[in-house]
């Protein structure tokens, strides 16, 4: 009996025991929100995108097989760090990606640097990832506060929206974006007539919306995200604000449009990094993605594919992939041309690509459940992100 138990334990230990980092396998770890509020934007869809990129590379690079693993960090930095530590020290993971939120992103980026692996943040929206807290082991793909707040508002002021009311979520993300939008609107010749900060998870926004109405604003900016954004846009429409104001939602994403529906969401002006219906390339990718996920990819899910493809191309040029810093240097040398992301990677790790200005279609303009955006303009990548000399990045 004891012998049997011992044998079973030995087998178990062999199965679960440490897999040392080895030269012969490339391991990609997707650390994401699988079940929380951001699961639609990243989550399982991001994992599927990564798998598509790996299978398009033939499942191996330089004859080394590629493995994809993923885990749910529950949006908690401590959970994320303990998973990541295990990945790097025991599972032999070479590149970790996604991270979803800024807190997780900053923590993961720091640990990746000390372990000399590669980090590819997609979801985190803080520009600190390539600014004050930048790392030579990171390539930052995701949209950030600056890009969200910079592109759409500029266009709206130019189109005549000069009296702004800002509805701001009351934490760092909202505060930073509020400051940015305020400066931008003022410098473009507009005026911020009022701003209000609301707690995260507010179910009713009517009080704030009435304020916007009484202040005579002609633009209302929804500087929030997720459910708060959906609810506030829906209620603004209920109170008829759409008859007097343009709606701008800088951090709006495709899943928001799908959740709101076009009847409620129509006319909202957004900053967009990539849209499934923008070219043959994106349409072809979306079709493959939909076979698995039954919906079109979100912006971050597009990026998951692009980021891995670019990483694997770089690794293909190198003899060894275990030195994270060297891999990132190689990536920075190579131009970016994955899906419709065309540009380069700056020294600070920022990926530069062009942005779209889009507005949500009215139901009559839409030809199907996923036909949600009308692309109305482009912003060159170098204008979209924080200029290289202003990030304050030093390695």
């Amino acid at each position: 009996m004891i012998r049997k138990t011992a044998a079973a334990l030995a087998v178990l230990a062999a199965l679960t025991g440490p897999l040392m980092a080895d030269e012969n396998t490339i391991r990609i770890g997707v650390l994401t929100d699988m079940s929380g509020p951001f699961a639609d934007i990243v989550g399982q869809g991001a994992v599927e995108s990564v798998r598509l990129a790996v299978s398009d590379a033939g499942g191996k690079v330089n004859n080394k097989p590629i493995e994809v693993i993923f885990a749910d960090h529950q949006n908690k930095p401590d959970v994320a760090l303990s998973i990541l530590r295990q990945w790097y020290e025991e599972r032999g993971v070479d590149v970790a990606m996604e991270f979803t939120t800024s807190t997780v992103g900053l923590a993961a980026q720091a640990l990746t640097r000390s372990a000399n692996k590669v980090a590819l943040p997609l979801g985190p929206a803080t520009s600190d990832l390539y600014g004050a807290k930048c790392s030579p082991n990171s390539v930052v793909w995701g949209m950030d506060n600056y890009a969200f707040g910079n592109a759409a508002p500029k266009v709206v002021v130019k189109r005549g929206g000069d009296k702004w009311f800002l509805l701001v979520t009351d934490y760092t993300f909202g505060h930073q974006l509020q400051e940015l939008v305020t400066n931008l609107v003022t410098s473009e010749g507009g005026k911020v007539v009022g701003a209000v900060r609301h707690p995260l998870g507010t179910p009713d926004f009517s009080t704030y919306l009435l304020q916007a109405q009484s202040l005579g604003a002609n633009v209302i900016a929804f500087i929030n995200s997720g459910n708060d954004m959906s609810t506030s846009i829906k209620q603004a429409r209920e109170f008829g604000l759409n008859t007097k104001m343009q709606f701008v939602a800088p951090a709006f994403q495709i899943p928001n449009a799908l959740a709101l529906g076009l009847t409620v969401g129509q006319g909202v002006i957004v900053t967009n990094s990539v849209y499934w219906d923008q070219s043959d390339v994106t349409r072809a990718f979306s079709k493959r993605f939909m076979e698995k996920m039954k919906k079109v990819p979100s912006e971050n899910q597009f990026m998951a594919y692009a980021a891995v493809q670019h990483y694997l191309k770089a690794v293909g040029q190198m003899k060894s992939h275990t030195d994270g810093k060297a891999v990132v240097e190689q990536m920075k040398k190579m131009p970016v041309s994955e899906l419709d992301f065309k540009g380069r990677i700056r020294k600070d790790g920022r990926v530069i690509y062009d942005l779209n200005i889009a507005s949500v279609k009215a139901p009559a303009e839409s030809s199907g459940p996923f036909d949600v955006y009308k692309l109305t303009g482009k912003v060159p990548g170098d204008e979209g992100f924080v200029p290289e000399d202003k990030t304050g990045c030093t390695f």
Binding site: S35, G36, P37, F38, A39, D40, D170, V196, R197, H198, P199, G201, T202, P203, D204, S206, T207, Y208, L210, Q211, G226, N227, S230, T231, K234, Q235, E238, F239, G240, P255, N256, L258, A259, L260, G261, T263, V264, G265
Partner: protein
């Protein structure tokens, strides 16, 4: 003075709308607690399921708002009756903690399922055609639908109060709470009474869900967000007191809205500050009766 009045009156009306949803939820919760002595943590999920059922009825069967207002509570009520019969009824005679844990667990399961099916961003339910648009109240334009919610909630809450305080069925319920053994000797089926009460409370939550669907975003976690406030309201109104709960719901709905103008960042805290203060000054709640220690 007139200016201040003009500024506050619209907010007062907005507060009434939130108060209406709070009232429907907290009345159901307090009725269940008052009679079954179960802290029904799954109430928020029943609210959420009610909202989702209305959404599904509309999208998949083309059944509009008015029928949903009947069908959703019926379905949730029947399902809850089955849950009470098979599971919750086993918890009456053991520590309250088990009821709390069980209903909390059930909430997590339901929320997880709906998140799996519909995603965390949820879905939007459009205001029914017959109630869309705004009404001119003289001092403000008010969405017609929100006025309807206030009226519907007041009618349902008063109805519930009358049912419990003024009818024979209500007297049985109160008796079942005071002394179930005695009531049994009169030939009343007490366990059926408890099942019916639970189903009724859950159905009220589903009505609230259907009413809330056009106002809030229909999402898997909509119940959790609102229940935290509703629990505080039940405590403020006095656990188990229907009258107190209704009054507290509307008062706090208004207090919350006023805080939103005076100090927006504190809006979600206002209810809890009031609760804490009240617990210090009057632990049994606004209208609660002090229970003799057993």
């Amino acid at each position: 003075m007139n200016d201040l009045f003009n500024a506050l009156l619209p907010q007062f009306f907005l507060g009434l709308v939130n108060g209406s949803i709070y009232a429907l939820l907290s009345v159901g919760l307090t009725v269940i607690f008052g009679l079954l002595r179960i802290v029904n943590f799954v109430h928020g999920a029943q609210f959420m399921v009610g909202a989702f059922l209305s959404y599904l009825l509309l999208v998949y069967f083309g059944i509009g708002f008015w029928w949903s207002l009947v069908i959703a509570p019926l379905v949730v009520g029947l399902a809850s009756a089955a849950i009470e019969r098979t599971m919750i009824s086993r918890l009456y005679n053991i520590d309250h903690m088990y009821g709390l844990l069980f209903t909390l667990g059930l909430t997590l399961v339901l929320e997880g399922l709906f998140r799996y099916w519909f995603g965390s961003a949820g879905r939007a339910y459009v205001v029914p055609e017959s109630l869309s648009g705004v009404v001119n109240l003289g001092f403000m334009y008010f969405p017609r639908y929100r006025l309807f919610v206030v009226v519907a909630s007041v009618v349902l809450c008063l109805g519930t109060w009358l049912l419990i305080e003024r009818t024979r069925a209500g007297s049985y319920l109160r008796a079942a709470h005071e002394n179930p053994q005695l009531l049994r000797t009169f030939g009343i089926n007490v366990s059926l009474l408890l099942t019916a009460t639970y189903a009724f409370g859950a159905a009220l939550a589903a009505v609230a869900g259907t009413l809330a669907a056009p106002i809030y975003q229909v999402g898997p976690f909509m119940g959790t967000h609102i229940m935290v406030v509703v629990f505080a309201i039940v405590v403020i109104g006095g656990m188990g007191s229907v009258k107190g709960t209704i009054a507290a719901s509307f008062l706090l709905g208004i207090a919350e809205t006023v805080t939103k103008i005076a100090f927006p960042q504190a809006a979600s805290m206002a209810v809890f500050v009031i609760m804490a203060a009240l617990l210090v000054l009057r632990p049994e709640g606004l209208f609660g009766r002090q229970e003799s220690t057993r």
